[in-house]
């Protein structure tokens, strides 16, 4: 086995070609599954591996699969390739450079829930990537790996790509399903959950690209092997997207449980111009701003440890590094402007809350704010919490509250009268 489990193109040069992928054990797991395993056995192996959803929520993947009822048909599988969180660029590299492993993962998930149609929902900006995947899907059809009665089995599967058109909210799974149905990308009320009433009101499984890409190695080498990597509660490897004030930004595939310090100073090469680190965000723009003290830097990046030690979820592991030159008031004005732009407008707390946070943060940074605006900004954020229809509204308040609490002088220097 090479150095990589997900970013295998860094080990195997021609893995983006079907022949190259097959030579590197490609589709061994899928063929094994459809010929020798029942769908329930595939699901059980994934459950046992402890794989957790890589889109951000960290929900156990095999458990999610188990929610689809077996008395309503057809089932659908949707790959969430909407990758839009500021600071996240992992799914793009996987689909660009190791496309067949992702597709094989999607095929395994589809087999496990017995779906005969799967969609890949790509953000509209990934237009080139959609063309690229369409070609790879054709390659698979020509090789008899997709289509009717695959490789002499009773299992049939078609995969289609569907392009979004520029809306962050479509990464939220119910908004994504609305979007495939040709509607505005606005989240649905839950319940019903997509597992029961999803796409076209049928049971639907939505999994992130990186989650799916984990499946072929898990099925090929087994759940026990997968559990030798990562931590007990967060098994396996994760692609960490490192960006911001870092010398070597990029994707790093590492076992879950790697510390912030290791990621930043060993893999990332340290801070630009060797400046002092000020704070980190682990889940892109949806993060708390976490003060980068020794306690933080020694925290293992895993789902449970980030929550226990920092009270801040690991999320999509889109780690944005902030050094001593970054003004947190400016940073908050950037994040709230993003969320204001991306709010879908369906629920009032988010639509109005992000509007006002953007307004207040904007005037603070421009120097036209009043001293009481700092508390007002935090107050709007607190009033939004727990009242929004989906997580987007909630996420928009994270940076605001944590930055005002932890870096108040950065705000006050703009509003001193």
């Amino acid at each position: 086995m090479g150095n990589y489990i997900l970013l295998r193109h860094r080990d195997v040069a021609d893995i983006d070609q079907l022949d190259g992928y097959r030579k590197a054990d490609g589709f061994a797991a899928f063929e094994k599954a459809i010929k020798t395993m029942t769908p329930a056995e595939v699901t059980l192996e994934v459950k046992n591996s402890g794989l957790r959803g890589r889109g951000g929520a960290g929900f156990p993947t095999g458990v999610k699969w188990g929610f689809l009822p077996n008395n309503i048909w057809p089932h659908y599988v949707v790959a969430n390739a909407d990758e839009s969180e500021p600071g996240t660029f992992k799914d793009r590299e996987i689909m660009e450079s190791n496309p067949f492993q992702f597709l094989e993962g999607l095929m395994l998930a589809s087999y496990a829930v017995q779906a005969n149609t799967a969609y890949i929902y790509l953000r509209g900006e990934f237009w080139q990537l959609a063309n690229h995947l369409n070609q790879k899907i054709k390659d698979l059809e020509n090789a008899g790996l997709l289509g009717e009665k695959i490789k002499g089995s009773n299992y049939s599967l078609k995969i289609y790509t569907h392009l979004g058109a520029g809306a962050y909210i479509c990464g939220e799974e119910t908004a994504l399903l609305e979007s495939i149905e040709g509607k505005m990308g606005q989240p649905r009320l839950r319940p019903p959950f997509p597992a029961v009433e999803g796409l076209y009101a049928k049971p639907t499984l939505v999994n992130n690209v990186e989650t799916l890409t984990n499946l072929p190695p898990i099925l090929q080498h087994g759940a026990d092997w997968y559990r030798t990597l990562g931590t007990e509660q967060s098994p396996g490897v994760k692609v960490f997207c490192l960006s911001g004030c870092i010398k070597n930004p990029g994707n790093y595939e590492l076992p879950l449980g790697t510390t912030y310090r290791d990621l930043i100073y060993n893999y990332g090469g340290g801070i630009v111009e060797d400046r002092a680190i000020k704070a980190v965000m682990s889940a892109g723009a949806s993060s708390d701003i976490v003060v980068a003290n020794d306690h933080t830097l020694d925290t293992p990046l895993a789902y449970e440890t980030c929550l226990e030690r920092l009270n801040s979820p690991l999320g999509s592991a889109s780690v944005i590094i902030l050094d001593e030159t970054v003004d947190m008031a400016w940073l908050v004005s950037k994040t709230v402007n993003f969320f204001k732009h991306e709010s879908c407008g369906k629920c009032t707390p988010c639509r109005d809350g992000t509007f006002w946070m953007n307004n207040i943060a904007g005037r603070i940074v421009k120097g036209s704010g009043k001293p009481e605006d700092v508390d007002l900004l935090k107050d709007v954020a607190l009033q939004m919490q727990g009242k929004c229809l989906c997580a987007l509204g909630e996420f928009s308040t994270m940076a605001v509250v944590s930055a005002v609490d932890r870096f108040r002088p950065d705000f006050e220097k703009h509003v001193r009268s």
């Binding site: 799914d91 953000r123 979004g164 058109a165 809306a167 040709g182 505005m184």
Partner: protein
Amino acid sequence: MNELYQKHETEINEILSRYPENFKRSAIMPLLFLAQREKGFVPQEALAQIADITGVSETDVASVLGFYSLFQETPGGRYRIQVCTDLPCALRGSETYLKNLCEALGVKTGEITEDGLFSVEAVKCLAACHRAPMFQLQGDGEIKYYENQSVELTMQIIEGIRASVASEKEGKHG
């Protein structure tokens, strides 16, 4: 069926075939991209045509058109230079890059260059945070990424496009 359908019959049938028979509405977004290909924005008459093909009201199509930022309702430059200025890109200098690029092109964000070819916009995250400054170029029905940019590099790309547009025109006259 209508003009849009007649013009792109094979392609539209292929699009419709991706979705269940009774959920033609799913084809609205692919059809809006198709309608946008020619002029760089969705012409008014396309709303009724797409509604006709997918069996929904014109209002339904308009709501989708208005919701998503990659669908353009008004003419812009033939090529839209869309620079990401979100947090990770801004930490790598994309705001300064955008300002200097606008100066080099002699436009403000949202304006079109004198030759009508380019407009510049600031947009939200494009999933290329590690290779900022970057922009995507939307035009001729395509979207392409250009990463690790400097104003000099971008101006070279722009001059390249200008040259190919000029030779395209010459080709038509000749």
